[in-house]
Subunit: 162 residues, 2 copies
Amino acid sequence: MPPLKRPSAMRDTKPPASNPASELPHEATKAMPIALLRAREALMSRFRPMLAEHDFTSQQWRVIRLLNEHSTLDAAQLAEKAFILPPSLTRILANLETRDLVTRVQSSSDRRRYLFTLTTPGEEAFRKISPDRIKVYKEIEAYFGRDKINLLLSLLDELAQF
Amino acid sequence: MPPLKRPSAMRDTKPPASNPASELPHEATKAMPIALLRAREALMSRFRPMLAEHDFTSQQWRVIRLLNEHSTLDAAQLAEKAFILPPSLTRILANLETRDLVTRVQSSSDRRRYLFTLTTPGEEAFRKISPDRIKVYKEIEAYFGRDKINLLLSLLDELAQF
DNA sequence: ACAATTTAATTAACTTGTTAACCTTATAAC
DNA sequence: GTTATAAGGTTAACAAGTTAATTAAATTGT
């Protein structure tokens, strides 16, 4: 027997108190923030356990990954690329420095800036996790298809301009 | 003069250490989690200041909004609909109860459950904020278009199944 | 009826998100 | 050159995300 999702006998929704036509057509838009959250969670729930095995949060990992790609970045660049706010980034970098995965050197040309680099153990950690990471990417592509991924990405980018 | 986004003289990216063809095609997929984050932030950055004026976080508001729609929900239903994990929800509900916006009654049929309802001030808060909220929805639709919104939503829902 | 298992919600501990204030160094104005 | 202003990063305070452990009540098995 197919599961009853919403027996019409048990209605738990109030009729919208007073809903002029001008306010009705926003149902889709209203659902957008949570839809974005759910989609993201569907992805992250695959990455998180794998990263946790290596004692990384996804944000810590994002920083590691960016430093592997760019070798040296200052905090502002990291914040922009990883989409992490400065106060969070400060804590994350402090954590990674404590664990000897990342080092900082003060910029000589602008002494407000600090330049961050992976240590050798940091690079090793990156290499150690990468294969698992790629495995998950392949699963996602196998499920969703590369065309849909690109379409979705372009819609998301456009929305992000808003 | 168009801004130079990436003068080719200053390359800061390492060549990918060793990148067999099998590992190359994941660039798009790799960007997906952050693209979802950025798109969501583009929306939330409109709602947050407006909610903050009324002393609500977006999560608190989600709970208020759901209780307005459904009049009575238990914590499990709220967690599922608002996509908030139980420990966060416990704190949010405690906060809203302290502010007399929400009340709880213990379910008589299952005394592990608590049923939550908006108080009169809670309903007033909802009504007070609603017009601003709808204004933002309209801006989003004006910018993005309802068709794209529906397309995006269906892609997100499909991805969320993963 | 009783022990074992499951479920709803909470608590604990830690990390991150969010805003505002702050400190230090660069840059701009005069 | 000195003062004002801006920019990079950190600190502080509180809310929320995340995982694991806990408590109390319901359900299952026997």
